[in-house]
Amino acid sequence: MTASDLLALLPLLLVAATSVIVMLAAAVHRSHAVALVLTLAGLAGAFFSVFFGHLRQVTALLVIDSYALFFMGLIVAASFMVALLAYGYLAEREGNREEFYILILVATFGAMVLAASTHFVSFFLGLEILSVALYALISYLHGRALPVEAGIKYLVLAAASAAFLLFGMALIYADLGTMDFARMAQLLDSRVAVNPALLLPGVILIFTGIGFKLALVPFHMWTPDVYEGAPAPVTAFVATVSKGGMFALLLRYFHRSGAQSFASVFLVLSIIAVASMFAGNLLALLQNNVKRILAYSSIAHMGYLLVAFQIGGPLGGGAAAFYLVAYFVMTLGAFGVVTLLSERRRDADLLDDYRGLFWRRPALALVFTAMLLSLAGIPLTAGFLGKFYIVAAGASAGAWALILILVTTSAIGLFYYLRIVVVLYQQPAASDRDHEPIPLRAPAAALVLAVLTVILVWLGVYPSRC
């Protein structure tokens, strides 16, 4: 490994080093603020180093190209926001706080490895680094019942899906004799010594592991429970960073290895996309818990992303990248509002917690409205343009069935987003305490929300500079 290899890996190294530094700092002197500042500094450094990235293949495992740098930047920025959101949240709660940031940094590191990996080994290592950190993060408030339950559920299912993934990798290795994505593509192109009986089950098993992390139907069972049980900032993290890293890998693996060129694989992925869009949107209609609604809605959004992925080509790839950015912004924003409204005893996840919010905290209600409308795909927001890109890409590729289903299901989605919006603007009853304005408890989180809203509208109105 040369100096320029190390330089290329700078974003990864910075995040890894920061986690060690925070750990050492916590060992010397426990201070919540210091841990936050160190974390933010490390993440900000990693973010800026992305812009000065050296493009090169580093060993057989990792590639630093503009694609990897884009996703790394996105992941690091999202982690930065989550850390800021979590500060006010953790400050009000019991237990040690510094370890939270270490875990966030480790998980971020894992997701970044996924975004840069070109090899099964780095794929699996990145995935496990991410997963192990997430087990601890989800049950971080370990004195409470819900987070622990969610953590155990996630642990069991994630471990099982990782086993499937490994088996799939083994099958492909047995067939092709390589674990390198690019080499796989060459072998598949030449069609020499390819045994579909090993290869196709291998691809599908690998997709089981990927689908689990992305919460695609039928691997979505954990989503509502984990979203509901995990502390709100962690939910935001699971919904964005963990899925974003895995989606980056999905795009790279399937496009590089050419596995999508098999008609049967394409068909299976299409069925999964359609099932995710329908199941996510329809099941969300039945929920009364805001976190669960957002969980099912995220299943649907992953379905939309998979449609963009299926369309492929420069238009489809561009649409997927744009949609992912929009998804990050609106998901962080929505869970940011949940975080900010959560009381010490429990997270604000019931619809009743939001009743008449507009009359108590108009700014927060408007931010939440903007995020929900964006999730629903209403113009002036990033979500609308994201959907527009996908539909346009689909129309140009002639994938009418997929985009018609996308439009139909997102119309179903309007119902449950509107349900939350309606509750926000209901007049509070004259007597109850709802009239009292709630003091602003977490200025950092409020700042994050303001920034996210600006980005949301900017992307929705003037996307051409992105």
């Binding site: 113009p379 002036l380 129309a395 140009s396 309606v422 209901q426 051409s464």
Partner: protein
């Protein structure tokens, strides 16, 4: 450039009004009024200047009659432009928009007391969206503006509406949103059809006019547009959102819904459906005309049966907009002139009726016609105004509405005598509901012993101006006809 500023003034005015409202609600109302009035003056100035210079025409036929344009590249990857342009049709409709905007601010001067800032913000943003719809020449921008008006309208109904506001707001939003999505797919289908034909990605109206489509595809794409506009219009099977939304909205919301939002549907039919898909529109015309006639009668009959005044006025809109639909699809110059006239006069007369009903509700806290009676004795000026606008609505000769509906009937008669005859019955039924409204509410004994304050100067002036406009349009409609003359004469040709 000035067209861009028209929209910016409204958007910025909305934000400013919201910001100052916390400290000074009155100033917020004045800022809104000033912003809309400024736009009104700008548009009027634009109209007068060009009217003198070269005469103003309408570009329905694809001839280049835009006298004012801005055209900037917006999202170049997709060939999306920020392209606004104004011709005679958009000029009149934007003037109507600003006029009814002023009317809505004045009508809610004392009605809205909670959340004043956010209310005016929404109001101005709706107006900005409507202005955008009337001016956009890029179909993406058109869709963008089309959607921009929905969300603030939703808030207007959901927050400041009456008893069943949430239900009405959600219904309104779902109807318009679903139909909007259909239009989006239709726009994209047209966009890619054009790309396959020419190799150019563009949403530009003038380019898409010359897209060659096979008749089958054209019919499907046309239906996507048509349904979106038919929901807004509203045409009969898609009308169910209208009564709830109009009834539950605050007065300003009702004025804008009836006076402007419905017109965006009619505008879309004239500007997009017919010129973009003449062949498919011709094929579809008998269906559209039949539905229009059904709507005229059905709306009138339902209006007759209502006990809620706002609901009554709402149903009359279905009937009147039926004439517009009939006039557009009758495909001749007379009928088109009539349809355009009806659009403008219906905007003024129905807007005025909603102001009257809103003023009554504010005073009496009820909209039930059964609780009224003999009101002429206590509020003569308001009652007189109500009588005037009810007469306008029933199509009394001498007032603008009459001219419009009469021309539509004449034009339809040339195409299809049976339809003209049935539609004429609709004019007759209008007499029943309008007179029933006046008789039951204002005449007879004042059995409930109402003692109410009459119109204040603000309301009186506003209604007076609206009366004068209707009289002017009814007695001397020539300036409006001259605007549309060229387009109306060429209109039949594009159907062939």
């Amino acid at each position: 450039m000035i067209l861009f500023w028209l929209i910016v003034v409204l958007l910025a005015g909305g934000v400013l009004a919201w910001l100052v409202a916390r400290t000074n609600p009155l100033l917020c109302r004045w800022i809104s009024l000033a912003a809309i009035s400024l736009d009104f003056v700008l548009v009027l100035g634009l109209g007068v200047r060009n009217f003198k210079a070269s005469g103003i025409q309408v570009s329905v036929t694809g001839t280049n009659n835009w006298f004012e344009q801005v055209d900037w590249s917006w999202i170049p990857q997709f060939g999306i432009h920020f392209h606004l342009a104004m011709d005679g049709l958009s000029l009149l409709l934007v003037l109507l928009t600003m006029f009814l905007g002023i009317a809505s601010v004045l009508a809610s001067w004392t009605e809205i007391t909670t959340g004043v800032g956010f209310f005016h913000f929404n109001l101005l943003w709706i107006l900005a969206g409507i202005t955008g719809v009337f001016l956009a020449l890029d179909l993406f921008l058109f869709y963008f503006a089309w959607e921009l008006m929905q969300v603030p309208m939703y808030f207007l109904i959901a927050i400041w509406g009456h008893e069943r506001r949430i239900y009405a707001a959600v219904k309104f939003f779902l109807f318009t949103q679903l139909s909007g999505l259909l239009m989006l797919i239709a726009i994209l289908a047209l966009y890619f059809a054009h790309y396959r034909g020419t190799g150019v990605y563009t949403f530009e109206y003038a380019d898409l006019l010359h897209t060659t489509l096979d008749p089958h595809t054209a019919l499907w794409i046309m239906l996507g547009f048509f349904i979106a506009f038919a929901v807004k219009l509203p045409m009969v099977p898609f009308h169910t959102w209208l009564a709830d939304a109009h009834t539950q909205a605050p007065t300003a919301g009702s004025i804008i819904l009836a006076g402007l939002l419905l017109k965006t549907g009619a505008y879309g039919l004239i500007r997009s459906v017919v010129p973009l898909f003449p062949g498919a529109a011709r094929e579809f015309a008998p269906v559209a005309m039949t539905l229009a006639v059904v709507g005229i009668l059905y709306g009138a009959i339902l209006a007759f049966g209502q006990t809620d005044l706002k609901r009554l006025v709402a149903y009359t809109s279905i009937s009147h907009l039926g004439f517009v639909l009939l006039g557009v699809f009758a495909a001749n110059a007379l009928a088109l002139q009539g349809a355009l006239m009806t659009m403008i006069c219906h905007g003024i007369s129905t807007g005025a009726l909603f102001i009257v009903v809103g003023a009554m509700q504010q005073r009496m806290h009820t909209r039930q016609i059964d609780a009224m009676g003999g009101l002429w004795a206590t509020i003569p000026r308001l009652s007189g105004a109500a009588l005037f606008f009810a007469l306008a609505s029933l199509g009394l000769p001498g007032l603008g509405d009459f001219i419009g509906e009469f021309l539509v009937l004449m034009g339809t008669y040339q195409v299809n005598i049976a339809m003209a005859a049935v539609a004429a019955v609709g004019v007759l039924t209008a007499t029943f509901y309008a007179l029933r409204f006046v008789q039951r509410a204002f005449q007879g004994p004042n059995s409930q012993e109402w003692h109410l304050p009459d119109l204040v100067v603000r309301e009186g002036l506003l209604l007076g101006v609206m009366m004068a406009l209707l009289l002017w349009l009814g007695l001397y409609p020539q300036p409006v006809f001259r605007l549309f003359a060229q387009a109306a004469n060429q209109f039949p040709a594009i159907w062939r």
